[in-house]
């Protein structure tokens, strides 16, 4: 059993001038998650500050998606999850979301047999959703509003999935691998959309593409074997090829998903 203090690893102390030493928007303590009786999240503890992008990283199958799904109550979980100052770990998923969480799931999960418009209408929780913002971000979707979401390309589906989260005024976005399987051009568009969103809402981001992480992440939380093994400033991890190799199993400059140029600067 890991002491929650352990996650506040020595590296956390090295954080430079952090803007968010205030109350975190999301506080996760000793979170355990189970799927079909099998432990997939083990004693995970970390904070998501009230601004910027926190990247949740780790090798494939380490439990990133399961951590997010545990936070949302989509899988059986125990532990403490505090969102915007109140405990949500006993609430059903829809109640947690109603408090202001936008969720962009792994593999997009658009409703294939609903049109683009219907997908977006369904997601609208606010009395005055930000339709204009979404239409400006994703003009493609405006043209394809009557198309069934199942017939969209992967990139277009990801836009629908992102739009569903951006339509409402949220206090936190949970975004799981938004660039998975997309072409470099679309990866760029999705990244810029998230960067724009991050100016107004904190994001917990799961991402494998190092370039995207460099562009977006302010802080990182690294999972290994279902546990948190590293928490800290994004640069602390990303500037250290050895740590990248150890925690993510990739070489810093040679992420297979990356294009050859790795010139993006940390945001």
């Amino acid at each position: 059993m890991t002491d929650p203090i352990r996650t506040e690893s020595p590296r956390t102390e090295s954080i430079r001038t952090e803007p968010a030493r205030t109350e975190p928007i999301l506080r996760v303590r000793n979170l355990y998650g189970r799927i079909a009786g099998q432990q997939v999240v083990e004693d995970v503890s970390f904070d998501v500050p009230g601004t910027g992008v926190t990247a949740l990283l780790g090798r494939n199958g380490v439990g990133k998606t399961s951590t997010i799904r545990s936070i949302l109550g989509l899988i059986e979980r125990t532990g403490e999850v505090t969102f915007a100052g109140s405990r949500v770990d006993r609430l059903p998923t829809h109640r947690i979301v109603q408090r202001g969480v936008g969720y962009v799931p792994e593999d997009r999960e658009v409703f294939a047999k609903l049109t683009v418009t219907e997908n977006l209408r369904l997601a609208e929780r606010d009395a005055h959703p930000n339709r204009a913002l979404v239409e400006a971000l994703f003009p493609d979707l405006v043209q394809r509003r009557a198309q069934l979401a199942g017939t969209l390309s992967g990139g277009q589906q990801q836009m629908v999935s992102l739009a569903r989260a951006l339509l409402n005024t949220n206090r936190l976005l949970l975004v799981d691998e938004p660039t998975k399987g997309l072409s470099p051009k679309i990866v760029g568009e999705v990244t810029e959309a998230l960067l724009a969103a991050a100016a107004t809402v904190p994001i917990l981001l799961v991402e494998q593409n190092l370039q995207v992480i460099r562009r977006l992440a302010d802080r990182v939380v690294v999972l290994s074997g279902g546990r948190v093994v590293f928490t800290g400033d994004a640069a602390d991890l990303l500037d250290d090829p050895e740590l990248i190799q150890r925690y993510l199993g990739v070489h810093s400059g040679a992420d297979p998903a990356d294009t050859t140029t790795d010139a993006a600067v940390p945001a």
Binding site: L74, Y103, R121, L122, A123, R125
Partner: protein
């Protein structure tokens, strides 16, 4: 020719009854993955109470019939919503328990109905016109067949319109595809479950009143006997598909009528053979969804 027309229209009328039961079964299975064996009881209780009310108003008038249908639908809706709320809701994703509870409820309610209304059929009096016939292409068609067909079409159109044009309809259609993601958008999908049960129960309750016009009586077993065919229709049409249920209702009922008449009363056998054939060729049914949400 006249026999053909008679069999066809009677088949359509019977198909209308099947559809009124199967539509609810199919919606409930599609959204929640629940096989509701208690659905026949919603039909029976709707029929009994609908006719009780009708009898107290005035026997055999149109206005009493309309009251019977409205009350039957309302009672069916309430019975179904209560079943969902008090029993099924606690058992989502526990399919064995669901089957046990709904089968148990079906058996217990049949006994209850027999206790209240007796084991003999209760004959019903409907407007005289319904018992008369109209000649079409030489066939003398009982008029009640037209009422059955018209109301089943009305129910189909209403449900389709509800699913397509209302927010609950949108939630239900999305939930049939991916229930989890609906909750992850901040929607309490359980409320949609209750709504779906109520709609299915209303269609069944109305079906109960109409079935008793078709047969001329109500009995405690009227629901369970129709339920068997409604399940077959739901499987042939494709579990969860409303359109499939509508098409399969007509096909099954017409096939049944023709086999009964031309093949010496083998209608039920023909239906089971048709079920086997469809399952062999198209295991998901005629219009079954590709991915199951169960």
């Amino acid at each position: 020719m006249s026999t053909l027309v008679l069999l066809l229209v009677t088949g359509l009328g019977l198909g209308a009854l099947y559809f009124l039961v199967a539509s609810g079964l199919s919606l409930i299975y599609g959204l929640m993955g629940v096989l509701n064996f208690a659905h026949g009881s919603f039909l029976t209780v709707g029929a009994f109470i609908g006719w009780e009310v009708s009898r107290r108003l005035s026997d055999g008038s149109w206005w009493a019939l309309v009251a019977a249908m409205l009350v039957g639908a309302l009672v069916g809706a309430l019975a179904a919503a209560a079943t969902e709320f008090f029993l099924i809701r606690r058992l989502y994703n526990r399919h064995i328990e669901q089957v046990l509870v709904t089968v148990g409820l079906a058996l217990a309610t049949v006994a209850l109905f027999e206790g209240i209304w007796g084991t003999d059929p209760t004959y019903v009096t409907s407007p005289a016109w319904l018992a008369q016939t109209t000649e079409i292409l030489g066939a003398r068609i009982p008029n009640n067949r037209f009422l059955l067909i018209a109301l089943a079409v009305l129910v189909l159109v209403t449900i389709v319109g509800f699913l397509r044009f209302t927010r609950y309809g949108l939630i239900i259609r999305a939930g049939v595809e991916n229930r989890t993601m609906v909750t992850a958008l901040g929607i309490d999908v359980r409320r949609a479950f209750t709504v779906v049960f109520a709609i299915g129960g209303a269609a069944a309750g109305l079906g109960g009143v109409l079935a008793s016009i078709y047969y001329g009586y109500v009995s405690a077993h009227i629901g369970s006997s129709l339920l068997i065919f409604a399940f077959i229709v739901t499987v042939i049409g494709g579990l969860g598909s409303l359109g499939g249920a509508a098409i399969a209702s007509v096909l099954v009922a017409v096939l049944q009528q023709f086999a009964n008449f031309y093949l010496g009363g083998t209608g039920d056998l023909a239906v089971v053979l048709a079920l086997a054939a469809v399952l062999l060729v198209r295991p998901r049914g005629l219009l079954g969804a590709k991915g199951s949400t169960a």
